[in-house]
Amino acid sequence: MKRATTEQLRTFFASLQTEFDVYVPVKLHDGTRVLGSLSEGPLALEGGKIPQKPTSVFFPQFDKVFVVDEQSKFQMAGPVAKPIMVVGFTAQDLDCLEFIDKFFSENYRDDIYFNKRDGSVVVGVSGRCGKDGEFMKIAGGKCDIELIYDGERFVVQAYTDKGRQLSERLVAPDSEAPAGLMDALSRESDALPTDDEDTIDKASDLIRAGKVPEDFWDDIASRCIACTSCNLACPTCTCFEVYDRKQNGKMVRQRIWDSCQLDGFMREASGHNPSGRQMQRTHRRIHHKLAADVERWGHKTCMVCGRCDDVCPTEIGMKSVCKMIVERFS
């Protein structure tokens, strides 16, 4: 098993740019870490989860559905010209990706999503590279390659044939991981606290058991300013709006992320609006991930990545709300 420095990995990713459209965590001039290309800034694998949801590479904020040209010919997007490689998924992000893969494939296969997802290479990042050196949970799968930071170098763990073939091309001389290193890292990962996951589980149970009264949702809703940040940050949020616009003589049908926290999200042309009150929308945001999706998919669809809590200006992200639920209604 190889170990590589950040510089060796940067060289490796750069060498793959002829074959792949490579997205990696980079640090911009202002210090922000984003998913971007190597030309945008230095590779920034350390620092924890990327604020932007990495699933957005496959389900971007804007996406073309089709274009109709001046001769009224339809142009549908096909598979991307170069397959996509995304580096930077945390273990929780990989759980999210696994879910939205299922979401977009079951019942009807969403070809727009799979035009990007099919043939892609997903690289996870874990180990001692969290924010302020915190240990990030090892995924142990659900990606092609996982880069597990041991404090000095990244252990390169391949889980798929594609991942093994690619990692063989990584140049990292004298880099074999010492015996016992992976076991030590795995033990460290297994020992991570699960307080947040436990809280979400308990809150889910309480909601499903009908133990959370209506006035609680009224209370939480009164703090929501409908900024929609929670939805925009969530890797398992998949709602979208569709609209047509004219562009250079062509008609473009686009889809764009939508938010269930907006008043008009469910409003029908008749004026009927099943989520016309903020309380209904706040309830939906939490209930959907922790109760409705348990019914539909057999599991919660909050993977406890924490992004909604990071961005919510009024501190009513998933973890905060679930903590209140558990404290008040257990």
């Binding site: 019942n107 709602c239 209904q280 939906r284 409705a292």
Partner: protein, 286 residues
């Protein structure tokens, strides 16, 4: 009785690509509603079942879900009864015979006529709800031998706002149906001699229903459901004997855009036709 009705589907390479279809006739139903008769290309059939919907597309204006208002037993075309209520439907109302629209679908669950076979049917619709109900009524009209006694109840705000007025007369004359109509009010000096004046719920108490043998189907504006269901329950009907078709805002029709979610169900995928016991207790369903 099974409560899940699997949706029919048309597999295409591109899920969101509409098929160009021709409008072959346009007819005024009311000042606000028109009936569009549409043909698929190359003589194809839409392949729908009663109660299903399509995604109607007009380039530059977008796409919206519209219930099919005609029965698959009427071959060679399908019909849409559409109120001018939004951007897309406003644009549609400006189209005429020979114009093209885009169609995706059919989508969603349907009135499962195989499960309804041999039953007495109580078909209750209000306002625009008669459009999807018409697909089932026409089916029953064409194959009355498959069902028991069929009763049609229809309510509208005023006599002039009733949809499919010629059909209402035709169905009332048909030996296949027992029809009862109501209007909420009659404005000015007008008169209404084809039924009752009052809400549609006034039509239910006088009905003689063989409770064990009857299935009720309800399609109407959101406010109508709970009052009609309450009247049916007074008659002794249970949630296992009541079917509803619900309307929701939808952008995709295939369970992806998220707008039509009713807790764990998607109205486009698991509905729009539900057995009442599937959705009772779900927040915001009715």
């Amino acid at each position: 009785m099974s409560v899940i009705t699997k949706p029919l589907r048309r597999e295409t390479e591109h899920l969101y690509l509409p098929i160009p279809c021709k409008i072959v006739s346009v007819r005024d139903l009311t000042p606000m509603e028109k009936l569009f008769r549409i043909q698929m290309p190359d003589g194809q059939e839409l392949g729908h079942k009663p109660g299903q919907f399509i995604q109607l597309s007009i380039l530059g204006y977008g796409e919206a879900p519209i219930s099919v208002a005609s029965s698959p037993t009427r071959r060679g075309y399908f019909e849409l009864g559409v109120r001018n209520a939004g951007t897309l439907t406003g644009a549609l109302h400006h189209l005429s015979e020979g114009d093209e629209v885009g169609i995706r679908g059919p989508f969603g669950t349907f009135f499962d006529v195989e499960k309804l076979a041999g039953k007495d049917l109580l078909l209750i619709s209000g306002g625009c709800g008669l459009a999807p109900m018409r697909s089932l009524i026409q089916y029953c009209q064409d194959r009355p031998e498959e069902f028991g006694k069929i009763t049609i109840l229809y309510g509208a705000k005023t006599p002039s706002e009733r949809l499919f007025k010629e059909d209402l007369v035709d169905w009332a004359r048909s030996p296949a149906f027992a029809c009862k109509y109501a209007v909420d009010c009659v404005p000015g000096d007008g008169c209404f001699d084809e039924g009752e004046i009052g809400l549609i719920t006034v039509l239910i108490p006088p009905l003689k229903i063989d409770v064990q043998k009857t299935i009720a189907v309800i399609v109407g504006p959101p406010v109508m459901y709970k009052f009609v269901i309450a009247e049916l329950k007074k008659k002794g009907m249970t949630e296992e004997q009541i079917i509803v078709s619900l309307e929701r805002y939808m952008k995709c029709g295939v369970g992806k855009c998220g707008h039509c979610a009713i807790e764990h169900l998607y109205c486009c995928l698991d509905g729009p036709v539900f057995w009442l016991n599937q959705i009772s207790g779900l927040r915001g369903a009715i």
